[in-house]
């Protein structure tokens, strides 16, 4: 058991290293001279040269990479070229909102997806099943921006139920909740489909197992059989799914945050890229990649904890 976790942690070291190297390369291969960019187009050559030396841009790549790693260890990601604030400061103000958005999205979409998947499995082949499956295929085929626009148009504009610009405050305040509702709804809608599908097939699989048949034979009511045996075992693949779909969710979050002007990491990343703010772009990409690695690690460990088969191995 511990071994599994240790193994998993070990596995993420090369991945982590890869991400860090990528972050380094990102700034290295960027077109244009970073010193020139920093100095501004009007700066005289001497100033550019000075900045070059200060930044150590003339040193060998290995030295530069070691220095970059050293700075990273100290949490120094440089300063944004645009705002001149430290990248860490920019990131730390954007991480909270993104975590809130993810939470607000998962907290409703996972239960909803599981419920739909279970219903579909129980009434397999029925009209309900087909409707739910059609909904889930449609869900994974819809461009997220379209969902956002439709929700804004109807819930925001026509019926005026909820605001759709920015963040109202922390999640526990009324204003915060109202502002996060539409982005969380949009993001959740693209996630329900995969969850429902996964739940359906695993519940179906579980229902075919021997002990479930036995339980049925013993005369337990259908509802209890499903709840006690089917659903519990079906949760494991759903957890894996979160790991598998983390990238998908992340992409959705980038679009959602941008459309709703929600000040999270995704919007920060898009803004930084569009304004060629390399240090900030690098920072946002590093943070997103780290988050992705972390989610997958947690999911793998959870999986190991929950699934007896993995434990035995």
């Amino acid at each position: 058991m511990l071994e599994t976790i240790a193994n998993r942690l070990l596995l993420s070291i090369p991945v982590l290293l890869g991400v860090l190297i990528l972050g380094f390369v990102l700034v290295q291969v960027a077109p244009g001279d970073p010193a020139r960019v920093l100095a501004g187009p009007a700066a005289p050559p001497e100033v550019v040269e000075q900045i070059r030396q200060r930044m150590g841009l003339d040193d060998p790549l290995v030295v530069q990479f070691m220095r970059y790693m050293g700075r990273l260890m100290q949490g120094d990601l440089g300063r944004s070229l645009i705002s001149n604030r430290t990248v860490i400061a920019e990131l730390s103000s954007a991480i909270g909102p993104t975590i809130e958005l993810m939470f607000a999205c998962l907290v409703w979409s996972i239960p909803a997806g599981i419920a739909m998947g279970t219903l579909a499995a129980v009434w397999r082949g029925s009209l309900v099943d087909r409707a739910i499956m059609a909904f889930s295929v449609a869900g994974v085929s819809l461009p997220i921006f379209f969902i956002c626009l439709v929700l804004i148009q109807y819930i925001g504009v026509k019926w005026q139920l909820l605001p759709f610009i920015g963040r109202g405050g922390p999640l526990w305040t009324v204003d915060g909740l109202r502002h996060i509702a539409l982005p969380a709804l949009s993001l959740g809608l693209i996630f329900i489909g995969p969850v429902a599908r996964m739940t359906r097939s695993s519940v179906l699989e579980v229902l075919r197992l021997d002990h479930v048949r036995t339980a049925r034979a013993k005369g337990l009511s259908e509802g209890r059989v499903i709840l006690r045996h089917g659903l519990r075992n079906a949760l494991i693949p759903v957890i894996t799914l979160i790991g598998l779909q983390a990238g998908y969710l992340l992409g959705g979050a980038v679009v959602t945050e941008t459309i709703f002007s929600y000040p999270g990491i995704g919007r920060l990343a898009v803004g930084a890229i569009l304004s060629s703010d390399f240090p900030l772009a690098q920072g946002t990409i590093l943070v997103l990649a780290l988050a992705f690695i972390l989610i997958n690690m947690i999911v793998d460990i959870l999986y190991a904890l929950l699934d007896p088969r993995v434990q035995k191995k």
Binding site: G40, N84, S93, Q160, I165
Partner: protein, 528 residues
């Protein structure tokens, strides 16, 4: 359209009931399209910067909303010597910065000297005239000495570039000045800025030195102003309609009709904006160095269609580089302006030997007519540049659009890496516009055309230092003739100022200074 009307009517009716007030009564939320890259008055040139700096800081003199008269500001009075070389400003007593420090003539002299100091590298230092010295004579008197007379000095001193700043603040913040902090004497104080997201200003409680043209002579009515960046036009419109924003001058032309009809929104219009949109060309780049090509490109664009279709008739098509109603416009040019005539354009290019290739794009001597155009990211320039792109394609010119976020665009526009660029700019007179864009010393920015002509430089100097109207007008008129004849720009349209605001606000008088319609915001208030 009727359906939209109905929608808007229900929308407005529902607003009061369904949407609870999102903020306290004296908090104002303004939506706008883009942010500035910083808020240092000597560096920042964007309208986005001017809007905030007029509120967070003050200038020696001010200008009335209709741009006609100079009014007192931090200086309650001033004198000009007969030779036009010495300006003496008398500073108000009792003015203080946001941090409580009293304002003295020292601060004024230091600020203005920083503006013209080559070290500051302000692209707008020329607006201060040929300064000999700016010195504090006593605690409340500043002497502004010029090398040569400058007919526009007082006007230029009303611009946000001449905002008086706090030396201690500038030195303490270093590179972070105008980014992480700004200590000014304006009716509002700089609280926080999250670039590309929002900027928050709070009321300056001690403020009682507002310009005389404001009804309110005390501190501002509003406690807090939040400037929010919303790049999407549609979202800005809806934000106004649904009360998520109280006021904005960044309202798309398409929405103006509907906003006027909505019972909860008022639209104010001012025609004295003198704000023109154009695409300029770097005349030494092979793709646009031929005058024939530039003239043909001018003929290809249908400004009337642009104003009608893209701006729903809310703007005035432009054939001249400044509005024909501007002071010192040369009426002799009225009949020579280039108007839409694609056949003539094609004929001219054929005759000049620019031949169409298999892809329909013209080329000559290995030069393919595919100029690279830098424009601002965002819907305004996207639409404008695509409109021009489509028009140019008709005459075999394949304009390549590269759009940059406003935060980097200004830096990009100061390079030599493009052939064309899209900009819009405010001006008060022909001299103001020409002295900005056409002196050779302003290459590469703001003279992005690389217009390098000794005769122009001479004429501009004559106009600038003229002591009588006729000399000035004649000199500027000649420069206007030169640049229109060689077609260095493609003028697109003149834009009036529109401000849409919630009916809960007292009617707003648009101020035309640098297009920053709210100016000091002293009279902004919610009705009871």
């Amino acid at each position: 359209m009727t359906r939209t009307r109905q929608l808007l009517a229900t929308l407005a009716a529902g607003t009061a009931l369904v949407l609870p007030a999102l903020a306290a009564a004296q908090d104002l939320t303004i939506v706008r399209e883009v942010d500035s890259n910083n808020y240092d008055p000597h560096i920042a040139v964007a309208r986005a910067a001017a809007e905030v700096l007029f509120m967070a800081g003050d200038t020696l003199v001010t200008i009335t909303p209709d741009m006609q008269d100079i009014a007192p500001g931090l200086a309650h009075s001033w004198e000009v010597s007969d030779d036009g070389l010495v300006y003496t400003f008398h500073i108000r007593e009792g003015v203080q910065f946001c941090d409580g420090k009293p304002l003295t003539a020292e601060d004024v002299a230091w600020s203005l000297s920083r503006w013209v100091d080559p070290e500051t590298a302000s692209s707008n230092a020329w607006r201060a005239g040929d300064v000999a010295s700016i010195e504090a004579v006593d605690t409340y008197t500043v002497e502004y000495r010029l090398e040569a007379p400058f007919s526009e000095l007082l006007y230029q001193l009303t611009q946000h570039f001449a905002t008086i700043i706090d030396r201690d603040n500038v030195e303490a913040l270093g590179e972070d000045f105008g980014i992480n902090g700004f200590n000014g004497t304006g009716p509002f104080c700089f609280e926080s800025w999250a670039p590309r997201d929002r900027l928050v200003l709070t009321r300056h409680e001690a403020y009682d030195w507002g310009p005389p043209f404001y009804e309110n002579q005390g501190p501002a009515h509003l406690e807090r102003i939040t400037w929010v960046i919303v790049p999407e036009e549609n979202t800005r419109t809806v934000a106004l309609l649904t009360g998520q924003s109280d006021i904005s001058q960044y309202v798309p032309a398409i929405a103006l009709g509907q906003l006027r009809d909505a019972p909860n929104v008022e639209v104010q219009r001012s025609d004295e904006a003198f704000w023109t949109y154009f695409m300029g060309m770097k005349i030494d780049k092979p793709t646009v160095s031929d005058t024939v090509v530039r003239r043909a490109m001018n003929l290809a664009v249908d400004q009337e269609a642009l104003a009608e279709d893209i701006y729903f008739g809310e703007v005035e098509p432009a054939y001249s580089y400044i509005s024909q109603a501007t002071l010192d416009w040369n009426p002799g040019l009225d009949d020579t302006l280039l108007r839409h005539d694609p056949e003539a354009a094609n004929r001219m290019l054929d005759e000049a030997g620019w031949e169409r290739g298999v892809d329909g794009i013209r080329a000559r001597d290995g030069v393919r007519l595919a100029p690279v155009a830098y424009v601002f990211a965002g819907s305004t320039w996207q639409r404008l540049s695509e409109f021009v792109q489509a028009a140019l394609l008709e005459i075999g010119v394949d304009m390549q659009i590269e759009a940059y976020d406003a935060t980097v665009a200004w830096g990009r526009l100061a390079t030599q890496e493009f052939d064309m660029f899209g900009l819009s700019y405010p001006y008060i007179s022909a001299g103001d516009a020409l002295n900005l864009y056409f002196p050779s010393r302003n290459i590469p920015s703001p003279n992005r055309m690389n217009w390098n002509d000794p005769e122009t430089d001479r004429l501009l100097q004559v106009g600038k230092t003229a002591l009588d109207d006729d000399t000035r007008s004649a000199a500027y008129g000649e420069v206007l003739a030169q640049i229109h004849d060689t077609a260095v720009w493609i003028p697109l349209f003149h834009e009036p100022m529109f401000i849409a605001h919630s009916s809960a606000l007292a009617p707003v008088v648009p101020h035309n200074m640098y297009g920053s319609g709210l100016y000091k915001g002293l009279d902004l208030r919610f009705l009871d």
